[in-house]
């Protein structure tokens, strides 16, 4: 079983979405994953640098891949959809074009950064626990089943599309989150927009458009009777959680939907406490859900 990963939390989980990083580390310990820190990693540039400065984006990500290689790790574990696509896309380009890889490495060497030979895979936590050994391990650690709790999976875009770069599962009929929800003892709730966009990338530049996108999954999950939503992406989380109030005003719907990070869902089922999973750092209060989860134990 694969147990050692170069761990790339990315910016959001290191900063505003710290509860994701904390929960991931706690869950990894339970699952027996050893997370090796990457000293001196930076932002992957998100979709923004990728678009604005594609060459620089490639170098930023090649440097991160090279750093993992320097640590003698063959796999980077990501916990954010955007980081996953950015790193995988850069990896794909560098691996298929020897001339490009040589040019990027020349620049990396010139500034004294780690170069990259092409030997690293990039995998999201979701994929590591949705099948194979990781899934078996998940079933073992999920010792406090979340019985009677209905959870709506929200995938986010860049864990599914473009599938030629991500390719873990059918992008139109994904089942990885459903499998994990079920393994945690909860009941997955189906709704059409679980594979659509949360609007986050443009929430500051085009708030009205982004909210239009955000309302749809929230409304559908609520109408389907979900107690909470779970997402593998901290950007989707921020959108669904922090912007939920604005979406509610815009749609004139009284949303009250706790939003879980994937690691928090697994952590709760693995017996980690309310404090260990930092539920207090959410904007939408999770009490309605966490009271149910922790009903029989003290918080």
């Amino acid at each position: 079983m694969k147990s050692s990963y170069a761990y790339y939390p990315g910016c959001l989980a290191s900063l505003s979405q710290k509860e994701l990083d904390t929960s991931t580390r706690a869950v990894a310990e339970r699952l027996g994953f050893s997370l090796v820190e990457i000293p001196g990693f930076t932002c992957c540039g998100a979709g923004d640098v990728h678009e604005a400065r594609p060459e620089y984006y490639l170098h930023l990500n090649a440097r991160i891949l090279g750093q993992a290689e320097q640590l003698e790790q063959d796999t980077i574990m990501t916990i954010c959809n955007v980081c996953t696509l950015n790193l995988r896309q850069a990896n794909h380009k560098l691996r298929e074009d020897a001339e490009l890889l040589a040019r990027v490495n020349k620049n990396l060497a010139e500034v004294g950064a780690a170069t990259y030979s092409g030997g690293v895979e990039v995998r999201h936590l979701l994929w590591e626990i949705a099948e194979g050994d990781g899934y078996e391990k998940l079933k073992q650690v999920a010792e406090r089943p979340l019985t009677g709790i209905r959870i709506a999976p929200f995938y986010g875009c860049q864990i599914l599309r473009p599938s030629k770069l991500l390719g873990f599962e059918d992008p139109d009929r994904p089942q990885s989150l459903e499998r994990i929800i079920t393994a945690c003892g909860a009941e997955p709730v189906d709704y059409p927009s679980k594979i659509k966009c949360c609007g986050f990338p443009i929430v500051l530049a085009r708030e009205e458009v982004a909210l239009g996108e955000l309302i749809q999954p929230l409304a559908e999950a609520q109408a389907a009777g979900a107690d909470a939503m779970v997402t593998p992406c901290p950007l989707c989380h921020l959108s669904l959680d922090a912007w939920q109030g604005k979406a509610a005003r815009e749609a004139d719907i009284d949303f009250d939907m706790p939003i879980l990070h994937l690691a928090q869902l697994v952590g709760a089922a693995a017996g980690l406490s309310y404090d260990e999973l930092l539920f207090k750092r959410h904007l939408v209060r999770t009490d309605r859900l966490t009271d149910k989860i922790y009903a029989e134990t003290t918080q």
Partner: protein
């Protein structure tokens, strides 16, 4: 093989659409379009859809199968039959339905016209021909594959929220001309794409890349335009300024400067104190005076600077289209 389809039916006078179920005995090699033809020939002549070339070139038969836009002529049915699926066939999204599977393409063509999809020249046209180098053609090879079927537009998440968004097809076409070495309208095109419903409306959902039956990758085309707008220093739009914060912070501290994002992208939003306080209370607002800093920051600073110099050379190329030869043979 026996194929069953549920087809969304709609007449202009209907209040709402309905689903009709049809089963046909089709050959193993049948496409969705073949099955529709068979239904129309054998069972219901009133079933209405567009088709022409039957070989994924004309772009007429875009429609949705189980909610995902496909070209009917390119969609084999055998794998679905094997899976035991009974797909729902419906018209493309983001366009008004005229009848059954036929949508009104006028909004699509309107956006197409808006990006002026023709060569802008200055001076006299060449007597004989433009000579374009292979590497110049390679730059726009993917964008030039578009057959205008509308599959990308059908599922554009931003267009659902902003129907005026130029969208993936029109912007990919714009990118095809922005990158054309013969074209002299580059700056005008960039200004157009930098407008209210232009490239910065794109939410990067990647549905367009996923659905395009020809490999155009419209999202990547939109990013090409965004990159050129940024390289030209056109930072009037909030989207471009948003990108600038990511660029700047990646080498200033190594991490995204989250607290700079709002005031720099949209200063008016920084006045939303109530929202800001909520974020602070939940611990979601990192201290702007003590930003998180990456180790080995010198490496990325030097890297950004070095790559910037190389970016300048590539921008100069794009500005002039230098390698185009005009051959004035008489």
């Amino acid at each position: 093989m026996e194929v069953t389809l549920q087809i969304q039916r709609y007449l202009p006078d209907d209040d709402e659409s309905r689903l009709d179920s049809f089963t046909v005995d089709a050959p193993e090699t049948a496409t969705l379009l073949d099955v529709l033809d068979q239904i129309k020939d054998e069972q219901d002549g009133s079933l209405t859809y567009r088709k022409s070339c039957r070989m994924a070139v004309c772009g007429s038969c875009g429609m949705r199968m189980d909610g995902a836009a496909v070209l009917a002529c390119k969609q084999p049915m055998a794998p679905l039959v094997e899976e035991g699926r009974t797909p729902v066939i419906s018209p493309m999204g983001n366009l008004p339905v005229i009848k059954d599977l036929v949508v009104d393409m006028e909004p699509f063509w309107g956006k197409f016209r808006a990006v002026q999809p023709w060569l802008e020249e200055d001076g006299d046209p060449p007597v004989k021909e433009w000579r374009v180098q292979q590497q110049e053609l390679d730059r726009i090879f993917k964008e030039a594959l578009c057959i205008q079927c509308g599959c990308c537009v059908s599922e554009c998440n931003s267009m659902e929220a902003d129907p005026d968004f130029l969208g993936p097809a029109a912007l990919a076409k714009a990118a095809r001309f922005v990158g054309d070495a013969r074209d002299r309208g580059r700056m005008k095109r960039l200004q157009m794409a930098n407008g209210a419903h232009g490239v910065w409306d794109c939410t990067r959902c990647y549905f367009c890349n996923e659905r395009c039956p020809k490999g155009v990758d419209p999202r990547d085309a939109i990013a090409k335009i965004g990159g050129e707008i940024y390289a030209e220093g056109m930072l009037s739009d909030k989207g471009a300024r948003h990108a600038q914060v990511f660029d700047f912070s990646s080498h200033a501290t190594g991490y995204l400067l989250e607290t700079a994002l709002v005031p720099y992208t949209d200063p008016m939003k920084a006045l939303d104190v109530k929202f800001a306080l909520k974020m602070v209370r939940a611990g979601k607002a990192p201290n702007p005076l003590r930003p998180h800093r990456a180790n080995k920051l010198g490496e990325v600073r030097a890297l950004s600077k070095l790559v910037k110099e190389q970016e300048k050379e590539s921008l100069a190329d794009k500005r002039t289209g230098v390698t185009v030869d005009r051959e004035n043979e008489s």
